[in-house]
């Protein structure tokens, strides 16, 4: 097989959360950078053991929520309390609604819509940016072509060290993963 010349990486299979926790600490300590753990559920504390930095997601979501609130204020002020024309894909003009002599800028009655738009934008960005930062959706991946890897969503825990890692050396990395007590070690082809 010629594909062996450029494998995606090497995967090591473990059977319990405790085993992968130990393995992750050692891989991290060995100085690998392009590597990952694949688990059927989020193992408590494994991200810390791997040395994953806390994601920036909450900051971005806060920004999206603030944008939603601002949008809510401007939407209502423009459509119900102004007569200016703006360009929003087409030219549109606001209409100052006068109802029962109430003030045009009736901010208390705007609160529900401002609130809902805040939540809407924040929630959509929380989900969307999480996927984006994770590089998803992704329709194919070398690991997903591996039959043994299917159990990563069932009851097995995998450590994968990628070939692009500067410290990756097939024989050495394989021996290193063996020393961690993996149940099974396999080279993952790049296809």
């Amino acid at each position: 097989m010629t594909t062996h010349a450029h494998p995606y990486g090497i995967m090591a299979e473990f059977e319990t959360p405790a085993q992968i926790m130990e393995a992750a600490k050692k891989v991290s300590a060995a100085g690998y950078r392009f590597w990952d753990c694949h688990t059927p559920f989020a193992v408590h504390g494994l991200d810390k053991a791997m040395g994953i930095k806390r994601t920036i997601l909450p900051v971005l979501v806060f920004g999206a929520g603030a944008t939603g609130a601002t949008l809510g204020i401007f939407l209502q002020a423009f459509t119900n309390a102004s007569s200016v024309s703006i360009w929003a894909l087409v030219w549109v003009t606001g209409y100052p609604f006068l109802i029962s002599g109430k003030p045009l800028m009736s901010v208390p009655s705007w609160i529900p819509v401002i609130f809902e738009l805040t939540i809407l934008l924040a929630a959509l960005s929380a989900a969307g940016l999480m996927l984006l930062l994770n590089g998803l959706p992704r329709l194919s991946h070398p690991l997903l072509s591996n039959n043994r890897f299917r159990r990563a969503s069932d009851d097995r825990f995998f450590v994968v060290i990628e070939a692009r890692d500067p410290k990756f050396l097939r024989s050495k990395t394989e021996a290193f993963l063996k020393s961690l007590g993996a149940k099974h070690i396999e080279v993952v082809e790049n296809r």
């Binding site: 059927p40 408590h44 003009t93 929630a123 999480m130 996927l131 998803l136």
Partner: protein, 486 residues
């Protein structure tokens, strides 16, 4: 798929009592299973194997009801809202009753998935997936009613601030418009929350799929999830954020629904207690619906080891609590009507209990306040037939609550000369029944093709998931990992 222990025939079909365990400390939430593979198998086989005969029967019945719904709605659109029994004072009746009823049903799903998550109630993992599905399907049913109630449905897009050549905008000071924003945001956020929570389990179904089509469909739906810990890290943060956003959202939705009434000046509607009272009622009815669905579903699909008696016991306690809150609201409404000294307000409430809709009022009180009190007894809370009957009672009672609030207030308001009575037509009843069919069809399809239980989340609350188990040196970490494990 290789399972680590042989599957006995009764597995998942027999109840094990785990309600005797103490309230504090680690409670067993997954019974008779000690490996992750068993949990995967137990949940996935529902989607992988042919469903039991009862599924086909229920599906056929529900599909028939949907057909009738389609007929009623088409007839309504072609003829006009006059085919309902609406008349001059009673311009809202079954349609808005059904709308409020279905939105309310949805609330339990969000409460379970978001609020119980924030409170670290681990027992939610067994029931959150299908409770969230219930939320989405209930909101679909709810959205149907105002949609067709607008009369000229081809102008329904006027509800949204869409730039148009007429330079016409919605009126943002109207609670009805707040409702449009609240319900559509609620639907969108619930859908996103549900789907994001389901992605890891869809990956499980993808990895187990045998057929080419299943592999393709689940593969597409799982969007390339491969359980990467770097992904899990962001996923967990996003999930927490979604829960934190959905919590105030769910409280706001039924508050805004109650503003439809409370902001108006109709006696019986114009009260400040409405927002909290509606939210409590929504959670009350929603939990009753979860019990009504969970009891047959766990029986039919053999999920008794995952949706245990303890889960049902906990839900019945919430029904009891919210039932008491609703009962308090009923009595407080009466007290304030008397205490305010407002004669129309006083009349509205006496008329509710003893006027032309007295029977609806007393059905409401019996089903919502009196019968749920039986849940004080543990024997009732853990009896499958009794809890099923009581949960149906609550569903009925909560439907009548909305009917009483809406119709009795409108039928007899300020001016006796304009009083009238509302009598439903066959289209009213057909649409109401049909909505239940629509809900049933969606729910049955969900049970058949999607993971009914959050597999990844259930695995994470098993004792086996603790990465420090069996390491004496990590006593401190261990205590941290099991904290709040109820």
């Amino acid at each position: 798929m290789s399972s680590t222990s042989p599957q006995s025939a009764t597995k998942g079909f027999v109840d094990t009592d785990n309600t005797q365990q103490p309230l504090t400390g680690r409670v067993q939430l997954v019974l008779n299973m000690h490996s992750f593979g068993e949990v995967t198998h137990q949940v996935c086989r529902v989607a992988e194997n042919r469903p039991p005969l009862a599924w086909y029967v229920a599906f056929a019945i529900c599909l028939g009801m949907v057909g009738f719904l389609g007929f009623c709605v088409t007839y309504l659109i072609f003829t006009g809202v006059g085919v309902w029994g609406l008349n001059n004072p009673v311009m809202w009746a079954y349609d808005i009753t059904n709308f409020v009823f279905w939105v309310g049903i949805g609330h339990a799903g969000t409460l379970i998935s978001a609020i119980l998550f924030l409170f670290r109630q681990k027992w939610r993992t067994g029931i959150n997936r299908f409770a969230e599905a219930m939320t989405i399907f209930a909101v679909i049913c709810a959205g149907l009613f105002p949609g067709i109630h607008v009369g000229r449905v081809w102008f329904a897009y006027w509800l949204f601030p869409i730039p148009n050549s007429m330079d016409m905008w919605p009126q943002f000071r109207s609670p009805l418009l707040w409702d449009v924003f609240a319900v559509s945001t609620y639907f969108t956020v619930s859908l996103v929350f549900w789907y994001i929570g389901m992605v890891p389990d869809l990956a499980t179904l993808r990895d187990r799929a045998k057929g080419k089509f299943q592999q393709f469909a689940y593969g597409l739906a799982a969007i390339g999830w491969r359980g990467s810990m770097r992904h899990w890290h962001r996923y967990e943060v996003a999930y927490l954020l979604l829960a934190a956003l959905a919590t105030p959202l769910v409280l706001s939705v039924h508050s805004v629904v109650s503003f439809d009434f409370a902001v108006s000046q109709v006696p019986g509607w114009h009260t400040t207690i409405f927002p909290p009272y509606f939210v409590a009622g929504a959670i009350f009815s929603g939990f009753a619906m979860v019990v009504s669905l969970a009891v047959p579903a766990r029986q039919l699909f053999g999920l008794k080891d995952l949706i245990t008696l303890r889960h049902l016991d906990n839900m019945n306690k919430i029904i009891l609590l919210t039932g008491c809150m609703v009962g308090y609201a009923y009595s407080m409404e009466f007290f304030i009507a008397w205490y305010s000294g407002a004669m129309y307000e006083k009349f509205a409430f006496v008329n509710r209990a003893f006027g032309q809709y007295w029977w609806a009022y007393w059905i409401m009180v019996s089903c919502n306040v009196i019968t749920p009190q039986l849940f004080w007894f543990k024997a009732v809370r853990t009896s499958i037939p009794l809890m099923f009957i009581l949960s149906i009672f609550v569903n009925v009672g909560m439907w009548f609550e909305r009917f009483v609030i809406i119709v009795s207030s409108l039928a007899n308001d300020y001016l006796p000369s304009s009083w009238d009575a509302f009598v439903p037509t066959w289209v009213d009843i057909g649409t109401m029944v049909g909505a239940f069919g629509l809900f049933g069809v969606l729910f049955l399809l969900f049970c058949r093709y999607l993971p009914m239980i959050a597999i990844a989340e259930v695995k994470a609350v098993m004792p086996e998931a603790d990465p420090h188990a069996g390491h004496a040196g990590h006593a401190g970490d261990h205590a941290h990992a099991t904290e709040g494990s109820r």
